[in-house]
């Protein structure tokens, strides 16, 4: 009896020890919307398959509170291995505070990032690797164009042509809007940076005037919903376009995967396509602006080598394929990746849409610059005043110029 018991005990101990011995190495990654973002699931699956014995564990933070939560975590000495970077400012701050570990990129191929990785470098040292790069495209509802007998928009259209097209597509009786602008600065006036020369931190904002005037003209003619209504209802562009009464909408590339999802679950059932965003006279067709998403390694991580393996993979061609497989746009650009993006189930099959996948140039929505967080606040405040028609575009731009200048006195 005693013997049996001791054997049993020994067996139990062995059983307990096995999982302990075979325990996976874990990389903790702080990110947002972890359960609902398809590319995060795809990346995790692909990385774990390629690296047996290593597990990715996401720490999920609500997207609208990402800045405050991650800042507190880092200040509090959090040891999570990898932090994803939602906005470039995040990294600039974290680097200055010493939270970002410098990366050894001497043997790391960054050619596929076409220069965007420079946004994550400080004094020539790389602190993060981009893995997603969203740029803006023009979405359009093919069914509405067919019904109206109007030709589809193309990849080479000026803003004036676009405005004309929007008015043509508008049908007040049928409650059809020619176009749709979300309330953000980026949806209305950020286009001025597409030329690659202007930036929103250059202290001179007269280049935005054209776009505010264009917008107000469209709003006055009823070609788009009014800012006041959108703002009050918090009406989300995703639902608005999915309603099927909006002909065109400039929006970030990320909306492609949302629309594919909507088509699948039946939320909307019309045909749609994408084109390059319109351009100004004299700016090459296919110029757009966008935003980067990347990953950095926490300076307090106890697992830096493994974390680097993951971050390097994430940005590189393999990670890019995983990211592209669900319709998101990776930072690594190549024909291969564009092919992967176009072959996602549900992506529009026409040539124009495919052509829109390779923009001729992508400027940064917000550049890395001194006091950029303060400038952002000011420009956004004046933007909302112009949009709510509290002040004219001219007055708003003057305010922007004046207030930004005061920052640097």
């Amino acid at each position: 009896m005693k013997k049996m018991l001791s054997v049993l005990l020994a067996a139990m101990l062995v059983l307990l020890a096995i999982p302990a011995m075979a325990e996976d190495q874990v990389i903790t990654v702080v990110t947002w919307d972890a359960t609902t973002t398809p590319y995060l699931a795809a990346q995790k699956e692909a990385f774990e398959a390629a690296n047996p014995g290593v597990k990715i564990e996401y720490v999920d933070v609500a997207s609208q509170d990402y800045a405050v939560k991650t800042t507190t975590m880092l200040e509090g000495g959090d040891k999570s291995d990898v932090y994803m970077i939602k906005e470039i400012d995040n990294l600039i701050n974290w680097q200055a505070q010493g939270f970002a570990a410098p990366l050894d990129t001497a043997d790391y191929d960054m050619s596929g990032f076409v220069g965007t990785e420079a946004n994550y470098a400080v004094d020539g040292v790389q602190y993060a690797i981009p893995f997603r790069s969203d740029f803006w495209v023009l979405f359009y509802n093919k069914d509405l164009f067919d019904a109206a007998g109007v030709e589809y928009p193309t990849n080479d259209m000026t803003w004036d042509q676009y405005a004309e097209l929007a008015k043509k597509m508008t049908n007040a009786e049928k409650q059809i809007y020619g176009t749709h602008y979300h309330t953000w600065l980026s949806a209305v006036a950020n286009w001025a940076v597409c030329d690659g020369v202007n930036t929103l931190a250059d202290k001179e904002y007269s280049d935005l005037l054209y776009f505010y005037k264009l917008y107000q003209d469209l709003e006055d003619s009823g070609a788009c919903m009014s800012f006041a209504d959108l703002k009050a209802a918090g009406l989300h562009y995703s639902g608005a376009f999915a309603n099927g009464n909006i002909a065109m909408m400039p929006m970030g590339y990320w909306y492609v995967s949302t629309l594919i999802g909507y088509n699948k679950d039946g939320t909307c059932n019309f045909n749609w396509g994408i084109t390059a965003v319109p351009h100004l006279e004299g700016v090459p067709a296919g110029s757009s602006f966008g935003n980067l998403t990347g990953a950095m390694i926490n300076a307090k991580s106890e697992n830096k080598d493994l974390a680097w393996k993951y971050v390097a993979w994430l940005g590189g061609p393999e990670g890019a394929k995983a990211t592209a497989s669900v319709g998101a746009r990776p930072a690594w650009v190549s024909e291969d990746v564009a092919g992967a993006m176009a072959s996602v189930e549900g992506f529009p099959a026409d040539e124009t849409s495919k052509g829109a996948l390779l923009p001729s140039g992508v400027a940064m929505e917000w550049p890395v610059a001194e006091k950029v967080a303060d400038i952002k606040t000011i420009v956004n405040e004046e933007h909302s005043m112009i949009m709510a028609r509290e002040i004219t575009p001219e007055e708003g731009i003057e305010e922007m110029n004046e207030r930004v200048a005061e920052l640097f006195e």
Partner: protein
């Protein structure tokens, strides 16, 4: 003067006028109740719609088709049961601790004379005045070094000793006549005895109020759990609700459904406790 009294008496005695007064009060109350409830009607109707129908124009108070599945969807999409359990744990423990310790401390502030009382009390009120966003960081660093980060106990210690409860109870105790305490002291009761046998029974309504407020505030707190709780097993309902709001899309219909569900436990607590507002201290033999 005489006519004034006369007319008042008429008003008081005339049953017709009285009835009209009653009716006016009722109409007023019902109108106010409708104003208060309309947003909830909208919430209920939105919770039964599809996402894109929520803000569609023209608005519909009654959904085209009732999507009851939204109410089962919320339990599948996020681990709401865990969230409810966590929130209930925090709310109950905080409420017990808060009620006990603050009614104790409030007695000292209201009925005892001791050196430094007013300064200490101002300290309490002073901290209420500092917005949490301002001292969140030092507090976080401290709590982390105590190993409380990402545990439910972090939320308990954070909320259980708030100055609010002390202040509230002090105000109630002050309205209880001091003569009562003095009489008890002469009868040989210790201060602890006075607190237990006189103050507590007399402040049922106040305690019910504090319980309701603490429970509701803890239940609905968002910023605290958002900062201190990270792993999914530790999250609370309010934090969980925000998971329906994502970077590029929001499921407003699900937010409405889930927040209506989270309304239930708090409403029950309120319904159970509100009878104490009827049996007040007025009937307990006090002389005014």
């Amino acid at each position: 003067m005489e006519t004034a009294i006369h007319s008042r008496q008429i008003r008081q005695d005339n049953p017709v006028l009285r009835k009209i007064g009653r009716v006016i009060i009722w109409i007023l109350l019902i109108a106010l109740a409708v104003f208060t409830l309309i947003p909830f009607v909208w919430m209920i109707s939105s919770s039964l719609k599809l996402d894109r129908e929520v803000f569609a124009f023209p608005m519909r108070w009654i959904p085209e088709t009732f999507h009851w599945e939204n109410y089962s969807l919320i339990w599948q999409k996020v681990p709401l049961v865990t969230y409810f359990k966590n929130t209930a744990f925090i709310a109950i423990v905080v409420t017990i601790l808060q009620t006990l310790t603050s009614s104790f401390a409030a007695y000292a502030f209201a009925k005892l004379n001791f050196r430094g009382r007013d300064v200490l009390f101002l300290c309490y009120i002073g901290t209420i005045a500092v917005p949490w966003q301002a001292y969140m960081l030092p507090q976080f660093i401290m709590m982390r070094s105590m190993g409380l980060y990402d545990t439910l106990w972090a939320m308990v210690v954070l909320q259980a000793f708030s100055a609010f409860g002390v202040f509230l109870m002090r105000q109630f105790y002050r309205s209880i006549p001091t003569e009562l305490c003095e009489a008890a002291r002469l009868d040989g009761l210790s201060e602890y005895g006075i607190w237990a046998r006189i103050m507590l029974p007399l402040s049922k309504a106040a305690i019910a109020t504090l319980v309701i407020f603490t429970f509701v505030n803890t239940w609905n707190d968002y910023m605290g759990p958002m900062i201190y709780l990270t792993r999914d097993v530790n999250k609370t309902v309010q934090v969980g609700l925000r998971r329906f709001i994502q970077e590029n899309s929001s499921d407003y219909h699900l937010i409405m459904a889930a927040s209506l569900c989270s309304l239930l436990p708090v409403s029950i607590v309120f319904l159970c406790l509100q009878r104490y507002f009827i049996e007040g201290i007025a009937t307990s033999g006090l002389k005014g």
